[in-house]
């Protein structure tokens, strides 16, 4: 059984601090949904409001259409996987897994059987009698998932559960989590500051900044069609040009920047008009060497340095009039290998691949 989760006009305040500001969102039943944002953006607070550990200051949390006001975390059809997993160290693995059943008064024999089934599901057969301390990080991760699933929740909430794992394991667990979600078919709500995790696993992602949802969409949309400067700078890598809108037409704007006039597609909802402060973003892989000088937007630059990453090169350039170096990614071939630091080059990009947003706060770093 799976349920839709809806947040309606949710405000969460701690004294004067607003952790969540008028959140309206509907998470479809059975979907893998992520809240993505830097630490302190309010994503964990929202998760706690869904799990019942805190009540919104205003607004409603609905699970499966039912208002959750006044219903504690032990009575909600949700299960939460904690950032540090919070397994019970003084219980064996199987007791951990079936704790939710113990609470419901299920007999030991039936609990043991269910534990064995779940251990099978998480690929840890026969490990039920171990203590939690005897397991590796990845195994503990899986036990935490099994413990939450044993409660048969309609919605599984995950609070950055992979952050304690090393890179390799984290990447493997992404695939595994996505797999488990498809198999059990319940709604997963995933909290992360790691865009890689959000992009690879999620059906839909809400990007948050300072208690506000900046944009909701699937990974592709967020990457290709960011609505705000923050989303453009937070999701994936982007080159930025600051400027002022010179001319705005339907489907394209011209932004006067220190690197010259750049044409770009305006972001949805940006409503840019002549004279507005605006940012132009172009992805490193959309930026090209334009030796033939034929692309719509052209910038003169010097190659500063380059990094070899196997299948492609990262080239860093000092563009004329740009305050920070530009980054260009290109497939590793003979032409790419011929680009050397110090060379004078012309860069170009297509207007429809660049996005112009209203000037606004950027992601840190």
């Amino acid at each position: 059984m799976t349920s839709e989760v809806a947040l309606e006009n949710v405000w969460i305040r701690f004294g004067d601090f607003v952790a969540a500001r008028d959140i309206n969102i509907t998470i479809r039943a059975g979907e893998f949904f992520s809240f993505l944002g830097p630490s302190g953006c309010g994503k964990t607070t929202l998760l706690r409001a869904v799990s019942g550990f805190l009540e919104p200051s205003e607004g409603r949390v609905l699970i499966g259409g039912a208002d959750m006001a006044g219903i504690g975390p032990n009575k909600r059809p949700t299960a939460l996987i904690f950032q540090n997993l919070a397994l019970f160290p003084l219980m064996s693995v199987w007791e951990n897994i079936t704790f939710a059943l113990e609470v419901r008064g299920v007999g030991a024999a039936r609990r043991r059987k269910r534990a064995d089934e779940l251990l099978e599901l998480i690929a840890l057969p026969g490990q039920g009698d171990k203590t939690v301390g005897e397991l590796s990080g990845g195994q503990r991760q899986r036990v935490a998932i099994a413990r939450a699933l044993a409660a048969e929740p309609e919605v599984l909430l995950l609070d950055e559960p992979l952050s304690a794992l090393d890179l390799k394991l984290r990447q493997r667990m992404r695939t595994e989590l996505r797999d488990i979600q498809r198999r059990v078919g319940i709604t997963f709500i995933y909290i992360t500051h790691d865009q890689g995790e959000a992009l690879t696993m999620s059906d839909n992602i809400a990007v948050m900044r300072e208690g506000v949802i900046e944009q909701v969409g699937d990974g592709n949309t967020l990457y290709d069609r960011p609505n705000t400067a923050f989303v453009a700078s937070f999701v994936g890598e982007n080159n930025l040009f600051r400027g002022t809108v010179g001319a705005a037409e339907r489907g394209a704007v011209t932004v006067e920047t220190a690197a010259g006039a750049l044409r770009a597609r305006p972001a949805t909802g940006a409503a840019l008009a002549a004279g507005d402060d605006a940012f132009v973003f172009i992805r490193p892989e959309s930026l090209r060497f334009d030796d033939a000088m034929e692309m719509e937007n052209r910038i003169g630059a010097h190659i500063q340095r380059r990094e070899f990453e196997g299948s492609f090169w990262q080239v860093f350039l000092d563009a004329d009039g740009a305050e920070q170096p530009l980054k260009l990614s290109m497939v590793n071939d003979d032409a790419a290998a011929a680009r050397r630091p110090g060379q004078r080059v012309t860069l170009g990009f297509a207007a429809e691949l660049a996005v112009a947003t209203r000037a606004g706060p950027l992601a840190a770093g």
Partner: protein, 308 residues
């Protein structure tokens, strides 16, 4: 690591002077404050009761008569020392009850301090717990006597409220004594439990709650197992000190009741029978240790855990 390597590591970290002081001070403490007095006491308990001038003479021979006396008394074979035995078992039993009462009282306080109380409020609570203990133990006992006396605060209040028609003798019924004993060592119960609870990851409590556990089950399955070493440590100290308390029974005890320590006190200071006093003291000490170890075994707590 072998003990020798421990010692070398200790020396390397602290240098010669500090190492010598630390080992010397600890050694002095253990030898002169604990081991030697107890050894002398044990030796006395097995010797005939003679005045000091005859110590070391043949009249100061070894005997089990004081231990025998504790069980059989001065009467002939077949009669038991009912008075002393009754006081002994009553003392042990009452000390256990006081310990249980303290544990039940302190667990919620420690829990509140460790997990719920914040900043200023937590500091205020700790102060409120600690400051009364700046008052001398004997003064505190007298204060309890006044509180529970026939014209004391409690009786006046209960009579004013119409609950009682005439003063209730809390002292004669030993209620004042148990209250005084219960309060005397309450900090030694709260702080070990608090220490143990403070190290509990709050997420574990939340995880249990999220999985549907009631408050009671969270405590039984998550908090109590985690705090068990602290609870044991607190119970051990409170039990030992209560069973060995002297001031509170002297001041708060009813006329018809004796604490076992008072019998020991009488043997030393009134009967001048140091040998019997020593034997009784050893009996109390050994009984308490055996009881504590047996209970630790029953509750599956190892000695090392208590020291954590």
């Amino acid at each position: 690591m072998t003990p020798l390597r421990h010692l070398r590591e200790f020396h390397r970290r602290n240098g010669a002077g500090l190492s010598l002081f630390l080992i010397g001070a600890t050694g002095f403490w253990i030898l002169f404050m604990i081991v030697l007095p107890q050894l002398f006491m044990a030796d006395f308990s097995f010797r005939a009761n003679v005045p000091p001038p005859k110590w070391g003479t043949p009249e100061h021979y070894y005997t089990l008569e004081h231990y025998r006396y504790m069980i059989y008394g001065g009467g002939g074979e077949g009669s038991f020392n009912v008075i002393d035995l009754r006081v002994f078992f009553k003392t042990i039993g009452a000390a256990m009850l006081v310990t249980l009462f303290d544990a039940a009282l302190c667990y919620p306080i420690a829990w509140h301090l460790a997990q719920a109380a914040r900043g200023g409020w937590a500091r205020l609570m700790v102060l409120a717990l600690v400051v009364p203990f700046w008052v001398n133990e004997i003064l505190r006992a007298f204060a309890f006597h006044i509180l529970f006396g026939a014209s004391g605060v409690l009786n006046s209040a209960l009579m004013a409220a119409g609950v009682l028609d005439e003063p209730y003798d809390f002292v004669r019924e030993n209620i004042a004594l148990y209250a005084g004993l219960g309060y005397a060592f309450i900090l030694l119960m709260i702080f070990p439990i608090y220490n143990a609870m403070e190290s509990l990851d709050k997420n574990q409590v939340e995880a249990a709650r999220d999985l549907g556990a009631s408050r009671w089950r969270i405590h039984r399955r998550v908090v109590m197992p985690h705090a068990k070493p602290g609870i044991t440590s607190g119970c051990t100290m409170v039990f030992m000190l209560t069973a060995g308390a002297l001031a509170a029974p002297q001041i708060l005890g009813g006329p018809g009741s004796l604490w076992f320590t008072q019998i020991i006190y009488q043997a030393f200071n009134q009967a001048g029978n140091w040998a019997r006093g020593s034997a009784y003291a050893i009996i109390l000490l050994v009984s308490c240790i055996v009881l504590v170890l047996a209970l630790m075994k029953a509750f599956k707590v190892r000695l090392g855990e208590i020291a954590r």
